[in-house]
C-alpha cells in the first residue's frame, strides 16, 4: 500500500511540477484573497488583527477547494480512472498517495499564506510549535477529506459547484479548531490551543481511515 501511495503521490506531484497549476494559479489566488479581506475590513483598525486566524483558515479552505478539484481532475482525462482500476494498485494506497500530494501542495500554500499574513496583517508568530502542529494536523485533515469528496464528485459535469457544497460543511470542525488553535497561539496562550490541535489530529485520522476504506468502492463503482 505504501509503495502504491508513493507512486501515486509522485505522479501527482510530477504533474504539478510540470503543469504548475497550483503554483501559477492557486497560490496567487490565495494571496489575492488575503488582499481582498483587507479591502473588506479596515486594514488599519483592530478588526483585521483579531480576525487574522479565521481569515487565514478561510483562505486555506478556499484554496484547498481549488487544489482538490485539480487533484481529482487529474484522474478524469485520458481514461486514468480505468487505468487505475486495472492497475492492481491498492485503492487505499491510491487514496493515501493522492491525499499526500494534496497535503504537500497545501503545506506549501500555508507557508506562503503564513508569510503573507505576517507581512500584510502584521501577525506575530509567537508559539511556533503550536502553529506548526496545527498546520500539520489541519493539512492532513483537509487533504484526506478533500480527496475523499473529490472522488465522490469526480467525473460529474457539476463537480465545480457540487464539491464546495459537499465539502465545506464537513470541514466546518476543521475551520473551528484550526482557528481557535491559531487564536491562542497568536494571542500568547498556547496551552488553550493544544486541545484544539488534538481535535484536528483526531479528525485527520478519522477521515484518512474512512477515505482509505471508501476509495475502492468509489473507484470501482462509478
Amino acid at each position: 500500500m505504501w509503495r502504491d501511495a508513493s507512486l501515486i503521490a509522485g505522479r501527482d506531484l510530477r504533474v504539478e511540477a510540470r503543469s504548475r497549476v497550483t503554483l501559477n494559479q492557486v497560490a496567487p489566488f490565495a494571496l489575492l484573497v488575503l488582499i481582498l479581506f483587507a479591502f473588506a475590513l479596515d486594514p488599519d483598525g483592530p478588526i483585521l488583527e483579531r480576525a487574522t486566524p479565521g481569515l487565514y483558515w478561510v483562505t486555506v479552505l478556499f484554496s484547498a477547494l481549488l487544489a482538490i478539484a485539480r487533484s481529482a481532475a487529474l484522474d478524469e482525462t485520458d481514461g486514468v480512472r480505468d487505468a487505475l482500476r486495472l492497475s492492481a494498485l491498492d485503492p487505499a494506497g491510491v487514496f493515501v498517495g493522492k491525499a499526500a500530494a494534496v497535503a504537500a501542495e497545501l503545506a506549501a500554500l500555508e507557508v506562503l499564506l503564513g508569510v503573507g499574513v505576517i507581512i500584510l496583517y502584521g501577525a506575530d508568530p509567537a508559539s511556533l510549535g503550536l502553529l506548526l502542529a496545527t498546520c500539520l494536523a489541519a493539512t492532513v485533515a483537509v487533504a484526506s477529506t478533500g480527496t475523499l469528496y473529490g472522488a465522490l464528485v469526480s467525473g460529474l459535469r457539476v463537480r465545480e459547484t457540487l464539491l464546495p457544497l459537499l465539502l465545506l460543511p464537513v470541514l466546518a470542525p476543521v475551520l473551528i479548531a484550526a482557528t481557535r488553535a491559531f487564536e491562542s497561539a497568536l494571542g500568547g496562550d498556547p496551552a488553550r490551543g493544544w486541545p484544539w490541535c488534538g481535535l484536528l489530529a483526531t479528525f485527520a485520522v478519522l477521515y484518512s481511515v474512512a477515505g482509505a476504506l471508501a476509495y475502492g468502492t468509489l473507484l470501482e463503482g462509478s
Binding site: L166, P169, V170, A172, P173, S222
Partner: protein, 322 residues
C-alpha cells in the same frame, strides 16, 4: 423493516397490507419485472390508516398544544412552539440515522430498496430540519430577542441541513443509476459520523465562549405540558413515518420507471438495428457494419434518443445508421 418485497404477486391488486412500519415494502401493485406500468399512486390500505392516525394525532396536538396546556411562567405562550420543535429535531436525527444505516446496507447487500430508503430518509429529514430551524427561530425571537444566536445546537443543526442538502444534490444528478447510488451511499454512510463530529466540535467551540448556555427547555416539565409534548412526539412520529413510507414508494417507483425506460430504449435500439439488417448490401448500411469483435466507433448517435442511460449496451449502437 424489509426493503425488498418478495418478487411474486402480479401487478394491480393493492389489497396486501404487508407492513405498516416505516420503510416497509411496497404493499402490492409493484410493477412486474416485465415492465408493465405500476400503480399511479403510492397509497395502500395500511398507509391510509396511518395517514388518518397522523391526521388525528395532529388534531389532538393542536388541541393540547394550543388550548388545553397552560402557558409557561417564563416563556409564556411561546413554549407551545416546543411541542413541534423538539419532536421535529429528534426526528431529524432519526432521518439521518435511517439514511446512514440504509446506505451501509445498500453497499453491503446492493438491493435497490435500501437505496430508496436512504434517499427517503434524507429527504424527510431535510423537511424536519427546516421545520426545526424555522420553529426554533420563531421561538427564539420572543425568548432571546433575536431570531438566531450562535448556540451550539442551532449552529450544528444549520450545518446538518447543509449536509443533507449536499446529499440530496448528489442524488438529483442525472447519472448512471448504479454509479449515483454508489456515490450517494458513500456520502450517506458518512452522514452520521459527520453529524457527530460537527456536533461535538461546535458544542466544544460554544462552551468555551459562553459560560452558561441558554436553557432551551425547562427540564422539570410536568402536567399538561408534558402530555402536550408527548402528543407532539407521537403526532410528529406518525407524520414522519407516513412521509417516509410514501417517499420510499415514490423512490421505488422511480427506480422501476428508470428500468422500464431503459428496457424501452434497448428495445427501440434493437428494432432499429433489426430494420437496418434485412438489406445488408444496400448503400445505407454498406460501410457501416463493423466486423464482429471490433470496438464500436459509431459516433454518439445513441445519446440523442433519450433514455436515462444511453450507450448502456454498446452492441446496440453498431447497426444504427446516422
Amino acid at each position: 423493516m424489509t426493503a425488498t418485497t418478495p418478487a411474486g404477486t402480479a401487478s394491480g391488486t393493492s389489497a396486501t397490507p404487508t407492513s405498516t412500519t416505516s420503510g416497509g415494502g411496497l404493499a402490492g401493485g409493484r410493477p412486474s419485472p416485465g415492465g408493465t406500468p405500476g400503480p399511479a399512486h403510492t397509497g395502500s390500505a395500511a398507509t391510509r390508516v396511518l395517514g388518518l392516525l397522523a391526521l388525528v394525532a395532529v388534531g389532538v396536538l393542536v388541541l393540547y398544544g394550543l388550548v388545553i396546556s397552560p402557558a409557561d411562567r417564563e416563556m409564556a405562550d411561546s413554549v407551545r412552539i416546543m411541542y413541534v420543535h423538539v419532536p421535529a429535531a429528534t426526528l431529524l436525527y432519526v432521518g439521518c440515522f435511517i439514511t446512514t444505516v440504509a446506505s451501509g446496507l445498500w453497499l453491503w447487500k446492493r438491493t435497490p430498496g435500501w437505496d430508496a430508503l436512504a434517499e427517503s430518509g434524507a429527504e424527510v429529514g431535510l423537511v424536519f430540519s427546516i421545520v426545526t430551524l424555522f420553529s426554533g427561530s420563531l421561538w427564539g425571537r420572543p425568548t432571546w430577542g433575536t431570531y438566531w444566536v450562535w448556540d451550539a445546537r442551532l449552529t450544528s443543526t444549520a450545518v446538518l441541513t447543509a449536509l443533507l442538502i449536499g446529499y440530496l444534490a448528489l442524488r438529483r444528478l442525472d447519472l448512471d443509476p448504479d454509479a449515483r447510488s454508489t456515490r450517494a451511499a458513500v456520502l450517506g454512510l458518512l452522514l452520521v459520523p459527520n453529524v457527530i463530529v460537527v456536533n461535538r466540535s461546535v458544542e466544544w467551540w460554544r462552551s468555551i465562549h459562553q459560560d452558561s448556555t441558554l436553557a432551551r427547555l425547562d427540564p422539570t416539565i410536568e402536567g399538561d405540558m408534558l402530555v402536550a409534548l408527548m402528543v407532539g412526539f407521537l403526532a410528529m412520529a406518525l407524520v414522519f413515518t407516513w412521509l417516509l413510507v410514501h417517499r420510499f414508494r415514490v423512490a421505488w417507483l422511480e427506480q422501476q420507471a428508470d428500468r422500464v425506460d431503459l428496457d424501452a430504449a434497448l428495445l427501440a435500439r434493437r428494432a432499429e438495428a433489426a430494420d437496418a439488417e434485412p438489406a445488408p448490401g444496400s448503400a445505407a448500411t454498406a460501410g457501416f457494419d463493423p466486423p464482429a469483435g471490433s470496438a464500436p466507433t459509431v459516433p454518439t448517435d445513441a445519446a440523442g434518443a433519450g433514455g436515462p442511460s444511453t450507450g448502456a449496451d454498446p452492441t446496440d449502437e453498431k447497426g444504427t445508421p446516422t
